[in-house]
């Protein structure tokens, strides 16, 4: 209670500082008597700050700001139980969407059995808990009902009630018609995805973008235009609304025509309407010069109407400039625009920086270091959403860091910015988040030492981000370059969990790293590698047999001779007696299926295996190897030498050896 009172007294932004100051006072209190002895007597006046009006949630928010994201736990939308923690990207999506599906089911039940949910516990009643009102042909409706529906944003109901009112011949006031027009234009007369379904929104965005390319979605001759026609005389608001609606749903020609019509009638429009039209200039004109001409015309019109450009204008202009094919012109104009807006005291949002990045850092253009300046400007700042494109910044910035400049330090700066304040809210959606981390991890694994990289890897995998197979390949490549075989057991277990074992390229990488980096002194590591190899052998064998039974899974991995040879080598190096039996099993598999397996194990692999046969005193097995080598036209004399020198062979074995490679003495002489 005491703390709450103190909090209220403190000025809002200096809350943290005042606490620090208080502790400083406390520590210096002991030294104060000494200093007062010197005669510097000061009468401190206590200034009690004025009471600050706070909202009911301020305290909760300041408490919440002390808690960050815990990377060791799954996101809080998932249950914290081993069985229920998602372990792959697919699972993350499925679980979150299932939960939301359950929520939808409950909502459906509420609407279906509405009579059971009419009770209201709270005072005043909470409308969200009550079932929605149902309107039918003979419900009693009036303007008040329509107004309320528009306020609640229930599009289809509002439209229905409006039609009902029209049928009944009820006069509807102009203001109400205008607000209905605004709603219909905003949603294009289509019921939007409810804001309650955050998961669906989080996972849906990338699908929507694909659909976006289709172009015009505006419904011609639909309710919006009828409403607009029924508003007489035409108000500037009506013009503005319809223009913005058409521009939003890419009915470009008509939006522009309407703007011109309004201009001819000398109707004063507003800045945001012009912004909407500037945004679609790239769809109206084809070449950069024409586009720029048109935007300048529009800006002149704005100036004539004495409209002050705002952030939306800036972003619309930059979007238009970003479509210029000529990068020199684009760079030049964008800098001019920025200078103009600096005069106007418009501060940039993350969306503006996003446009700058795509203007300056193009794949085919020259390298630009604009991101350095941008980061110097904005690092440590906290942003809130001001423009729809603000969420594109972080993914693009990281893309630039990786593909354009290939700069680790910059990437870390971007990452710091992302984790400043509430900036993480601007990451966008699941797709952009994974793009961001994809670039971040790929860049770090190429530029950092393996140990430093693994620190970051441990931090964000798997709860925040799960690498896709492509990124896993990058990581394995960097491990191969650095020869850090110590990390392989760890990475392999992650690969198994993330279901990457169906990618042949990844498996080959893992095997190659383990075979090429043999550490005979480190027995534990060899044993771990042996375990990985055995695990892989079992996994592939399962896949092969499953695919043989039913041809369901298309992309399964099948053994190659090389792969099996590597597995054999690793098992042999693993070292103890049970492993030798497993090595025998693997070799027998090679021997038995030599016609169906493409390629053969390497000579070195067979030699190591034969040496291990010698070590474990298994002459019959070693002769099988020799036979296999001879049958497959491989280098057999070396093998024969190892066998001959390693064993004291009995008659039968000697005869076999002779039949395979001829006289041993002549071989030794060679």
């Amino acid at each position: 209670m005491y703390q709450i009172r103190t909090l209220r007294l403190l000025p809002k932004n200096s809350m943290g500082q005042s606490w620090k100051l208080a502790t400083v006072d406390y520590t210096t209190a002991a030294t104060r008597p000494a200093s007062s002895g010197t005669g510097t007597e000061q009468t401190e006046t206590i200034v009690i700050p004025k009471r600050i009006q706070r909202s009911p949630t301020d305290l909760l928010q300041s408490l919440a700001s002390t808690v960050g994201r815990d990377a060791t736990a799954p996101h809080f939308k998932y249950s914290d139980d081993p069985f229920l923690i998602p372990m792959s990207n697919v699972a993350k999506r499925t679980y979150a969407m299932s939960k939301e599906a359950g929520r939808k089911a409950a909502k459906w039940i509420k609407e279906e059995h509405r009579e059971l949910f009419l009770h209201q516990e709270a005072q005043p009643a909470i409308e969200k808990f009550a079932p929605r009102l149902i309107f039918s042909e003979d419900s009693e409706v009036d303007e008040v009902v329509l107004k309320k529906l528009i306020e609640q944003g229930q599009l289809s109901d509002a439209v229905f009630v409006y039609k009902l009112l029209e049928e009944k011949g009820v006069q509807i006031s102009k203001e109400l018609k205008q607000s209905l027009l605004e709603m219909v234009c905003f949603f294009n007369n289509q019921e939007p995805l409810s804001e309650e379904y955050i998961e669906e929104r989080w996972f849906l965005q990338n699908n929507r973008r694909r659909e976006r390319g289709v172009g015009k979605t505006w419904k011609d001759g639909d309710l919006a235009e009828n409403l607009y026609a029924s508003i007489e005389p035409k108000t500037p608001q009506a013009y503005a609304t319809l223009i913005r609606g058409m521009a939003k749903y890419l009915q470009c020609e008509r939006a522009y025509a309407l703007l011109q019509e309004a201009g001819e009638k000398e109707i004063i429009l507003d800045t945001n309407t012009f912004n909407a039209v500037i945004q679609i200039v790239s769809l109206l004109k084809d070449t950069a010069e024409q586009r720029w001409q048109l935007t300048q015309d529009l800006l002149q019109q704005m100036a004539k109407q004495q409209l002050i450009p705002n952030l939306g204008t800036l972003n619309a202009l930059l979007e238009c400039i970003s479509t210029f094919g000529n990068f020199k012109l684009a760079r030049q104009t964008s800098l001019q625009v920025l200078a103009e807006f600096k005069e106007l005291n418009v501060s940039l949002s993350l969306g503006s920086y996003y446009y700058l990045l795509i203007i300056f850092c193009r794949e085919r253009g020259p390298v630009s270091h604009i991101i350095v300046d941008i980061l110097n400007e904005i690092s440590g700042k906290e942003f809130s959403i001001q423009h729809p494109k603000d969420t594109y910044f972080f993914a693009t910035a990281m893309d630039v860091c990786r593909n354009h400049l290939h700069d680790k330090v910059l990437a870390k700066k971007v990452n710091d910015l992302l984790h400043t304040g509430k900036n993480y809210d601007l990451i966008g959606d699941s797709f952009k988040e994974s793009v961001y981390y994809r670039h971040y991890l790929a860049l770090l694994c190429q530029t950092e030492t393996v140990d430093d990289f693994m620190v970051t890897y441990d931090l964000i995998v798997p709860n925040i981000y799960i690498p896709e197979p492509g990124i896993m390949e990058e990581i394995l490549r960097s491990l191969e370059i650095n020869g850090s075989v110590e990390q392989i057991p760890r990475i392999w277990s992650d690969m198994v969990i993330f279901d990457h074992t169906h990618r042949e390229s990844l498996l080959l990488y893992v095997l190659r790293i383990m075979v090429d980096n043999h550490r005979p002194d480190n027995e534990q590591l060899s044993a771990q590698c042996c375990q990985v190899a055995l695990d892989m052998y079992q996994k592939i064998e399962e896949q092969t047999s499953a695919a043989g039974k039913r041809n369901l899974r298309k992309n399964f991995v099948s053994f190659t001779g090389q792969m099996l040879g590597d597995i054999l080598t690793l098992i042999v190096r693993g070292g103890d007696v049970n492993h030798f039996e497993q090595a025998n099993e693997v070799f027998n598999y090679i021997d038995k299926n030599q016609h169906s397996i493409p390629g053969t194990p390497s000579d070195v692999a067979l030699q190591e295996y034969v040496r291990s046969c010698v070590h474990h005193k298994a002459p019959t097995q070693s002769l099988l190897v020799l036979q296999y080598a001879v049958e497959n036209n491989m280098e057999s004399s070396k093998l024969a030498q190892i066998i001959h020198q390693g064993f004291t062979l009995n008659e039968i074995h000697l005869a076999k050896l002779k039949s395979l490679v001829g006289d041993m003495d002549s071989l030794l002489l060679k």
Partner: protein, 165 residues
Amino acid sequence: MSFLTKLTPQLALVQSQVSKAALHTSAVCCRVQSGRYRITTKRDRPLTYEMANPPHFIGHRKSWNSWNTSTLKDGLRPSQTAIEDVFIRKFITGTWHALVCSEVIIKRQHNTIRIAGIIRQAISPRKVYFLVGYTEELLSYWLQCPVTLELQTVADKKDVVFKYI
């Protein structure tokens, strides 16, 4: 009739006591059965830790199943809370059919209700999440406050068995 005649003297005694002194109203302690489980002949009735401890161990060896402040002095809605808790328990055991293998713990803090329990891993995680979303949402429509489910899972029902009696 003979039963009544047998009782008559006692009734008279009771009446005289009532007229003389206050009625003794506390529960008869020697015959309490609730929360206690009878031993079976085969000794094969599985009990969880919670069931194995009779009610007088609440607060010592085990804890309460409903956490709220309605029964404190000046507590609000005592009867409604009790009825709601019964409803929640019935709803959970019915919705999570044959899956719940512990008591359903209901914790109320301010306006939120947290429901905890242990379930079996008999259905896929996907379905678990569906039911979690469904239960949370429907209960919050019914009780008109935020409801959160806090589940733990066990691989086998036997994992929660403390002893057989």
